[in-house]
């Protein structure tokens, strides 16, 4: 098979690490070659962050380039728009509709663009959009946005619900397990 590419994008501090851990864990149990890549350090301080997950028979490059992503999972709307050009033809964006203003918007130097989902669709991009923050809060914590989005992404993978749940059990502390499982299901059904 050709290498599959998933990008997880968002704002530093939103918890993309857990999402990629979950995916990576599941993919190696299926015998795929897997690479997961992210940048640590300065950009994490509230900046735009991206994690690359690639899998297939043999994966070489640790990063995903423009025009290559099968999926872009975005924790924040503006970030989905920022990275859209990384999507391959026929790829899909799964995005939280939550908006977090970047500093240039806060200071008034720039405006948060309007109608972003419509503009993505104008490019012919398939977009799944919903408020993942509300789902996460319904599950018990605003911090579960990452698992809500993974739950939605899971609809497009062949793994069984049991396999996803097993991966969640291995990836989160026991005391947050039920919360995360609930968040996953809410996302999967969104």
């Amino acid at each position: 098979m050709n290498t599959k590419n998933i990008m997880i994008v968002g704002v530093g501090g939103q918890g993309s690490l857990l999402a990629s851990k979950l995916l990576g864990r599941l993919l190696i149990t299926k015998g795929y070659d897997v690479k997961v890549s992210e940048v640590h350090g300065m950009s994490q301080r509230g900046g735009s962050v991206v994690t690359y997950v690639r899998y297939g028979e043999k994966v070489y490059s640790p990063v995903i380039d423009k025009g290559e992503a099968d999926f872009i999972v975005s924790f924040e709307l503006l970030e989905a728009a920022r990275w859209t050009e990384y999507l391959r033809e026929g790829g899909r964006i799964v995005t939280n509709t939550q908006q977090i203003n970047p500093m240039p918007v806060i200071t008034g130097a720039a405006a948060y663009p309007q109608e972003l989902v419509a503009k993505m669709r104008d490019k012919g991009v398939t977009v799944d959009e919903f408020n993942a923050l509300e789902k996460a809060e319904a599950a018990g914590s605003s911090k579960a946005v990452n698992i809500v989005l993974m739950g939605h992404l899971s609809r497009y993978f062949d793994f069984t619900l049991e396999e996803w749940m097993e991966a969640i059990e291995q990836s989160v502390p026991a005391k947050f397990l039920e919360l995360n499982k609930k968040a996953f299901i809410l996302g999967r059904e969104a």
Partner: protein, 580 residues
Amino acid sequence: MKQLMLGNAAVARGLYEAGCAYVSSYPGTPSTEITETVAKYQEIIAEWAPNEKVAMEAAFGACLAGRRSFCGMKHVGLNVAADPLFTIGYTGVNAGMIIAVADDAGMHSSQNEQDSRHYARASKIPMLEPSDSAEALAFTKLAYELSEQFDTPFIMKMCTRIAHSQSLVETGERVEVQKTYEKNPGKYIMMPGNARKRHPVVEERTRALVQWAETAEINRIEAGSDHSRGIITSSTSYQYVKEVCGDKYPVLKLGMIWPMPEKKIIDFAASVDELVVVEELDSFIEAHCLSLGLKVTGKSLFPCIGEFSQNLVAEKLGMPVPQGEGAVDAAIPARPPVMCAGCPHRGLFYTLAKNKITALGDIGCYTLGAVPPLGALDTTICMGASVSGIHGFTKAQGGAADNRTVAVIGDSTFMHSGVTGLINAVYNESASTIIIVDNSITGMTGHQQNPTTGYNLKGDPCAKIDLETLCRAVGVKRVRVVDPYNLKETEDAIKEELAAPETSVIISRRPCALLKYVKHKKPVVVESDKCRSCRLCMKVGCPAIFMKDGKACIDNTLCTGCGVCTQLCRFDALHEGKED
């Protein structure tokens, strides 16, 4: 069983399996996780040193004593440690010693884009360069074998994409290595008479390493079907080449980047029509090929600036580049990194900016004080440069004539190399005002302990260097502590110390708001009817404050209740949240 492992964690695993017994490092992105991961192995003594020079010398001492040792750093850290580096190349080792250096092409988290491969050639110390986590683990173990076989430290050269990518590895068991120390002045006392005898040994060792490189498995040729072109590459560039070309062109992948083989490269060049070198940053492999008299295409085709990617390599080699759906038709505002909500540095930088003070900055989270709307810094060069720089700056301006310049340096950076600058300021009778922003942790690299925090790398309580005592001990008479959450106290202190005709130190002290033990207060409350939309509260650049329908609003998920913004409002619209 195979597992996903970060490149840096794979180096750490290699250290463990190879019987490394002592590690000393200074944190620096993208190298930090090697040492953080090592700290979890009980068999290994692992420490943060105050700086990279100390770390390298401590690691050398441990290898001299007979145990395999390691020190890790980012590229600019190797500049700090360059002094011992060039001489331990002469002495060689007793037990094996590895130095890891992590470059940051693209400058994700760095102030320059230096290519550390030059250090291998300059110091005559061999360098291995892994291209994924499996190699990071295997090369680390191999480097110890070679270090002892050839009697030299080895450099393990990482880069952001290898250090911070996870790929599959298989782990093994640990071996223990113990050698005895024997006094050997001719080998270890590098006074001129001895060093003159060691230099020829180094040159002979390099010739032997070149011979080893000719047949080494880690310098491998991968066959290709099309001999019109042959590619020499290494590290992450190898991955991009294989991603784009597959098995089309023959590839010579170099695992040891210095010294490089000669005959192997000449023979490879003879087997293809066009020789191409694909390497990030400077011409290094290409320069070697040129020195062998080969015709080669390298930097005439590929940039010497920034990171590569598969699309860049595809475009340059004339291979197909994927076309996606294209960019969204909208102006997407940038999202630069910002100081966190509740960051103790904010109040200080607001005060500096408000008073239009020239501030020589340093390396850490507080470098973010330079970005709008604060724009409170004038320089960022390297660790410690603020304290040394302000001395020259004030001297050149005629002492404290303008009373408008301060140095700003973090607690960890001050321990790293700020204290020597402070000694210089006292000794040479400077009127400098130095502000130590003490957030009780090494922040930017992700919360590492340092000599001022009272905890060591393993998380155990330990000796704590007291900054006030230290500053007084080197002769600073004016040392005071302020709380940067209190804007008036901070402003008064800065004005008074700037007016003082001698060296003074202000310690701006508040723990990082992200530390787990720091209790946040209730979010700030806005009385909307009192808000006059003056936007003064926006001047602190806090991500938790935004304007909605012309009124200031607080993002309750971000606000830590630090209260800095409440001190700015002239209309009493912002209040500290009531505690339960």
